[in-house]
């Protein structure tokens, strides 16, 4: 056991915890003022539900003893056998409990990301049931496939340092399924869905950036050079992507915007996540620069394809995560991480293929499972609030409160 590593992982867990309320602010500012609390409530409630799910069976299904390379068993139900001693497999220099709580924060954040797709129209009970089913039947298996000892994607040699497939592609593709099944907000095409509080959104983006240091650097699970590398490339990619989105938007629409700069920063953070422990600083500039441009292209494409992914989860997390996973197959270098592999540009084209297989299987699994889960929720309790409630806004109709009284 190493004291420095333990401090680092616990502090990183606290940083990642902050990302979920940060996301609540990021999303909350982008909706109309009648839905600000309903939107914040989604992320905030997940801190409760998923913590409980994770401690009872989620952690065991994700990281517990492997069964057939597809799922962890329930041997660690209720954190049985997960104690103060390090686990030989996960962060062998920190208490097993520290690794568990670090991973818990990832499990909370991932479904919170999806909530941007169905903002302003989902029933609260439908949301609760969806979150519980999604965490159990989508997140936990995927997490096991990629990071659990014996999981098939990890065994194949796919590189995902901090969650490009597990967190971002899974949430981005599930967001697409959700937007398609739940349908458009009332007045789509005629009503202007103008963000009601962009300073709140920028504050959220800034706190996400801050928390992301824990997300990526913390994934080294030790306070070492690799953690420093992840910290540095994370910062570089975010900085460059903020500029890249801003400049592309400037050229395209004539004005640089704060929402664009903030969205670009998040897109860069998403794109660097899977490669943050495998790529160097110059690669990070390219990954961030293209990440900002690709995600901006994605939000433009949304209006063309006319699905109502309200807060652009598909474009930023789905597309950004996919670019990041592929970029890891291009730019990974064993000079940065001897425990990883080389990518295409460092003489190993095979890695790119492995990355593609992991991306496509994650997409298919998350998309199909989310469709099934939403169908079940639709049949049992129904997905959408009534039209009248949608017009009044979620804050008053679902929660009996108003975000602002002037």
């Amino acid at each position: 056991m190493n004291t420095g590593d333990t401090v680092f992982v616990l502090m990183s867990a606290a940083l990642v915890m902050l990302m979920t309320p940060a996301l609540a602010l990021f999303y909350g500012g982008m909706v109309r003022n009648k839905n600000v609390l309903g939107t914040i409530m989604h992320s905030f409630t997940l801190l409760g539900i998923i913590t409980l799910e994770w401690v009872l069976w989620g952690y065991s299904m994700s990281f517990g003893p492997d069964h057939g390379s597809v799922i962890g068993g329930l041997e660690w139900f209720g954190l049985n056998n997960v104690g103060m001693e390090p686990s030989p497999d996960y962060g062998s220099t920190v208490p097993h409990l520290a690794f568990m709580i670090f991973q818990c924060m990832f499990a909370i954040l991932t479904p919170a990301l999806i909530t941007g797709a169905f903002a302003e129209r989902l029933k609260f009970t439908a949301f609760l049931l969806f979150a519980l089913l999604w965490a159990t039947f989508v997140y936990n298996p995927l997490c096991h496939w990629v990071w659990g000892v014996g999981g098939w994607i990890g065994r194949m040699g796919a590189l995902d340092f901090a969650g490009g497939t597990v967190v971002h592609i899974s949430s981005g593709i599930s967001a697409l399924a959700a937007a398609l099944i739940i349908g458009k907000r009332l007045g789509y095409g005629s009503t202007a869905y103008i963000p009601h509080n962009l300073p709140m959104t920028i504050t959220g983006a800034a706190l996400l950036w801050f928390g992301w240091f824990g997300f990526n650097a913390g994934s080294a699970l030790a306070c070492n050079g690799l953690a420093a590398n992840a910290f540095v490339v994370t910062h570089i990619a975010s900085a460059v992507a903020a500029l890249s989105w801003m400049f592309f938007e400037w050229i395209h629409t004539g004005k640089p915007t704060t929402l664009g700069a903030a969205s670009g920063a998040v897109a860069g953070l998403v794109a660097i996540t899977p490669g943050s422990g495998f790529v160097g600083p110059i690669s990070a500039i390219i990954i961030g620069g293209l990440g900002g441009a690709i995600c901006y292209g994605g939000v433009l494409l949304k209006s063309r394809l006319a699905y109502d992914d309200s807060l652009d989860v598909v474009a930023i997390h789905g597309l950004g995560g996919t670019w990041g996973a592929i970029a890891t197959g291009l730019f990974a270098s064993t000079l940065i991480n001897p425990g990883g592999a080389n990518g295409l540009f460092f003489g190993n084209p095979g890695q790119l293929w492995i990355q593609l297989v992991s991306v496509i299987s994650t997409m298919i699994f998350a998309f199909v499972m989310t469709l099934i889960i939403l169908k079940i929720v639709d049949i049992t309790i129904g997905l959408r609030i009534t039209e009248e409630d949608e017009v009044r806004g979620m804050d008053v109709s679902l929660h009996n409160e108003a975000g602002y009284s002037f």
């Binding site: 202007a192 103008i194 963000p195 938007e249 395209h252 629409t253 004005k255 915007t257 929402l259 664009g260 969205s263 901006y296 939000v299 433009l300 209006s303 652009d312």
Partner: protein, 112 residues
């Protein structure tokens, strides 16, 4: 007595207020309003999605005065609020039947 009601560009408020004060106008009421005239609205773009915002923010000034002051007040407002661009606003004149000061019960021009 007349009420002079003017819709003006928000950044011209201080100039108009100072101009009216120097005329001897003793008080005025200001409201932030939205609306459109020939200027129509403006365009806002969020993540590439363009929205037409039809209503533009304006300031409405209401001031009640004796009839013999009105011509000059209108002249001052027009001078101070004018930029020459479309969207400078309008001035409306409305006859006022009676004015009552709540504290003292004074009426008519004493109450203005």
């Amino acid at each position: 007595m007349k009420k002079v009601e003017a819709i003006i560009k928000p950044f011209k408020l201080d100039d108009v207020k100072d101009g009216l004060s120097s005329l001897g106008v003793k008080g005025l009421t200001v409201t932030e309003v939205k609306g459109f005239g020939r200027q129509r609205g403006h365009k806002e773009v969020y993540r590439g999605a363009e929205y037409q915002v039809d209503f533009v923010s304006k300031i409405k000034i209401e001031v009640v005065m004796e009839s013999d002051l009105v011509a000059e007040a209108v002249k001052v407002i027009q001078e101070k609020a004018r930029t020459g661009e479309i969207g400078d606003g309008k001035i409306f004149l409305v006859p006022v039947e009676e004015v009552v000061r709540i504290r003292t019960g004074e009426t008519g021009k004493d109450a203005i």
